[in-house]
Symmetry: C2
Subunit: 348 residues, 2 copies
DNA sequence: CGCGTTTTGTCAACCGGTTGCCAAATATTG
DNA sequence: CAATATTTGGCAACCGGTTGACAAAACGCG
């Protein structure tokens, strides 16, 4: 850090890192076009504020110098950065891939750049990252946040914030409505002769794991199935493997897991132990992540349209930035059951 | 864009988005500490420039006001942004996950923020994104770039650039050295009785597909196997399915594919057609992506340490930013064969 | 053609830091 | 204790845009 400034360039005309053509400024344009810099600024960002004639002259000059605004110079007085932040718990968790992509795509379509940060599943890192990011972006998206409701409201008091996969009053949220997908799943399991159902839960800090369990419980009751909740150590393939033993002991013939990774790990472990899926036990995951159809049998899962969640969150944010009000109600997106090979008729 | 500025806020005290406590500045600190703003600036960013005593006074004042630098104000005069850009062809392509994570982790460890952009596999979008990003970051990483060598050199002339998965003279590169992994793979196939080998190539713009083919060809020659090259339509699961027919026609009993997705698609299609893997045909992928072990049999693959590539690229970049020279030679990282179930003895 | 209105462009201040240069304060030395 | 060397802090300019206030120019109208 220190060296950075003291190394060379002491005598040289310090400018831009190492580039030579230290890009044109509005002053250069002004000189070339024979007008005042402020006129250039207006021509370039306040449509209609200058006459069509000068507008053209300025635009031509800008093109000739191939001018690009300096985002920092613009951000300094205005606070606008044309940037939105996205915080996810774990970059390598495929659940987030679609969210990231949805957000990135929608953002760039409206000339916003996405800045990504990871919280490594830790509430503390998450808050730190959020604070750091918040000062440099126009708005923030929290995907499956682990921090407190109040901390989120704090952030939201500073700048527009949208939350994905969790519902918090007073903050705009986009949440998959699990009920449709879950009831489809439970009904389908009931129709296939299952009577005892297990739900493998995710991390305690996850708001979603609770919603999903409630959905499963309710749907099971409705379909006259018994349902038990089992805890997993972590929401990964490995966690799924570890919970296999509990699943067997529970006597359930159908399992719904908090997410697909758990389902995959569970299925691998059960198969390794000689169980046949779905003949002896049916497995249903959650999210339809990348790779859910790589398994044999392919995984039946409740799909959340995560790409859409990303898109919606960005849209809400950008709307808020334009002065629109945040939606009072959480935006709900539909979930659906994707039937593949891992669930089916119970062969006694 | 337009509306954004003209909508509201005309009468309101425009300040910071909507926050109230529009964060403290060095001027506030200076007032509180009874010193000059420039002294504050020095205390906070030039270790050793001010006396320990004033240093402490200033730090206390900063803490009390819980001051955070305004990154834009800092970036404006210095050009430093504490930010590095990463451009990938496709965010949802799992090949990049590890690169992204490696880069993110290494970056944040050194207080750099990662900005991510996607080129959607298009050389044009890629150049645009790169240019846009370049002006706002301290350095840029291109992962598997699709643009011309010269365009990359152009970028590199402006700011530090590092390239992953491609070798370009004059630009620092991090490339997996495929030879070790490939020869392990080919030797293992030869040892298992295979004589005819097929390589399923990736997209023509991909520099890597050529390297891998050359590696396969050379290793095959050395092991006295025959090798043919087949083209795929796209480097995805679907592309793998489509190439299955050509693979069968080629008469090869062992296949190495450009990447894991192709391998998985190919395996699924062959199995669906009644072939047994690996008894009748062995399949080896490339990259060991997330999910490569979800398949049955799990995929044998040549693993590139992509996380390490990300880490190395960031390290090179940050070193360059500290004034170090860019490494003249491409940095090579080792690849290795990960033997799983999809390759093995040929049962005739 | 003169007057009021609207449009268009200029001036200057500001956003919040950084840094070269200089003078004051302090430390070192003979 | 004076003279010199070294720290330390202050001043002011600058980075590159934005924007409110105002004046000049262009326009409309009786």
């Amino acid at each position: 850090m220190t060296d950075l400034t003291s190394t060379g360039a002491a005598t040289a005309p310090i400018k831009r890192g190492r580039g030579e053509k230290s890009s044109a400024t509005i002053y250069d344009i002004a000189k070339l076009a024979g007008v005042n810099p402020s006129t250039v600024s207006r021509a370039l960002s306040k449509p209609g504020r200058v006459s069509a004639k000068t507008q053209k002259i300025i635009e031509d000059a800008a093109a000739e110098l191939n001018y690009q605004v300096n985002p920092f110079a613009r951000a300094l007085p205005t606070g606008r950065t044309q940037t939105i932040g996205l915080i996810v718990a774990d970059i390598t968790n495929p659940t987030f891939f679609d969210i990231i992509r949805g957000a990135e795509t929608t953002g760039s379509a409206r000339d916003y750049t996405l800045v990504l940060a990871e919280s490594a599943e830790s509430p503390e890192t998450e808050v730190t990252a959020a604070r750091r990011l918040l000062s440099t972006v126009d708005g923030l998206i929290l995907a499956s946040p682990r921090m407190d409701d109040d901390q989120i409201r704090d952030l939201a008091a500073d700048k527009p914030v949208a939350v994905i996969n969790r519902e918090i009053t007073g903050v705009p949220c986009v949440v998959p409505d699990v009920n449709k997908g879950i009831s489809e799943a439970v009904r389908s399991l009931a129709a296939n002769g299952h009577q005892k159902l297990a739900y493998v839960a995710g991390p305690a800090q996850s708001w979603m794991t609770g919603r999903r369990w409630e959905g499963v419980k309710a749907a099971a009751e409705w379909s006259k199935l018994s349902a038990v909740r089992l805890e997993s150590s972590k929401p990964t393939v490995d966690g799924g493997r570890q919970v296999a033993r509990d699943v067997l002991e529970s006597g359930a013939t159908a399992v719904i897991t908090y997410n697909d990774l758990l389902a995959i790990g569970l299925m691998q472990e059960l198969q390794a132990g000689g169980m046949s899926v779905p003949d002896q036990i049916s497995i249903v995951g959650f999210d339809d992540i990348f790779g859910a159809d790589f398994t044999t049998p392919a995984l039946t899962t409740v799909r959340s349209p995560l790409g859409e969640c990303g898109t919606r969150a960005v849209t809400i944010l950008l709307d808020m930035l334009q002065g629109h009000e945040a939606p009072l109600e959480a935006v709900r997106v539909e979930t659906e059951l994707v039937v593949r090979g891992s669930s089916g008729r119970l062969l006694v």
